[in-house]
């Protein structure tokens, strides 16, 4: 189990979702990933992606101009 980070700032949706998805693909079950985005839409979209694909959404929050999502990969 390891922790990873992904910087998806500067990207507009659905690119942050695509980047998250592609990164998660490379990770193992149990690994955690923190994604930082600047598109406010990512708060909904990355969270929704996480739920429908069966990963655990640990935290999703907006801080100033940043959206930060933390998830755990589950397979």
């Amino acid at each position: 189990m390891a922790h990873f980070e992904l910087d998806a700032s500067g990207l507009l949706c659905p690119m942050p979702v695509i980047r998250t998805q592609d990164r998660v693909e490379e990770l193992d079950s149990g690994d955690t990933l923190e994604v930082v985005c600047s598109d406010p839409g990512a708060l909904n979209d990355v969270s929704a992606w996480c739920r429908i694909n069966g990963h655990k959404l640990i935290d999703a929050r907006q801080e100033d101009e940043q959206v930060i999502i933390k998830l755990q990969v589950l397979r």
């Binding site: 507009l12 949706c13 429908i52 069966g54």
Partner: protein, 347 residues
Amino acid sequence: MTRQIKAVSLISGGLDSLLATRVVMGQGVHVEGINFFTGFCVEGHTHAIRKKDRAKPKRNNALWVAEQLGIKLHIIDVIEEYKDVLINPKHGYGANMNPCHDCKTFMVSKALEWIEKNDFDFIITGEVVGQRPMSQRKDTMPVIARESGAGERLLRPLCAQHLPETLPEQKGWVKREQLHDFHGRSRKPQMALAKEYGFEDYAQPAGGCCFLTDANYSKKLVDLWDARGNREYEMDDIMLLKVGRHIRPAQNFKLIIAREEGEVNFMQGYRNRFISMKTTSHSGPLVLVDGQPSEQDLQLAARITARYSKGKEASEVELEVCRPVEDAVQMKVKPLPVSEMPEAWFV
């Protein structure tokens, strides 16, 4: 134990793909969704850019549909590969720059690659015979199936009864009599079926699923290609066509003028790649200059920029011109009167 039959469904985020998927799920097939991002998709972007749209609840409809259905969704970035579809469509364009026929064929062929790689059995789309003039005619549907290579592995559950039997029907994976016979432009059968399944609040895109069906957007894209003398484009180009007022005084340059705060914020991110202008003596919008302007062209661009500032009536307006990685230069110009801006400049 019999093997679970699996299908992948092309999810656009609209009602048709939602229903088509649901119909097949109802027959015991395991379905996952696939969504292709071409760069032109209506989802997201403008909402994120324009401040006035930010207040509206924003969601990615494809993800929303997948969540309603309780299926996985795979979003695939096809920006690069899609260029060839848009630049050289074998079957031409629709009313605007939308190459729907080739686009559908391309997406089904990508879905075919995906099912082969992931060991799925067939592909679902929400197409309805006769719904759209170009890509959903009865005679073009078999062409899409054939040209994509999917052939009998492509099932359109909403109008299957009008089409030849497909593999999933022949094999008994789905029952043909439980598929539908929708046709034409009426949305009533879809709405009735949505009600039956209890779906509410679904998206109903008017023109289509992407910006290429939009007349204004298409005009700007064609202008960009004409001005450059080729049809290449980058993601930045297509993003910038979605924002601002575009004014082209000459083939070698155009101005992109922010219309509101959200666009200003978005365009700020491009100042390291474009010449940018902003009035300093009066408040005014951020302007990006695209192309290869001469010094004289920049004078004209500055006068146009001044025209869109609060100092449009002033005898002189000061502004700041920034070139990427250079120090800002100050300029003083007389705003260009509207009477000297020909209609043809407005893209």
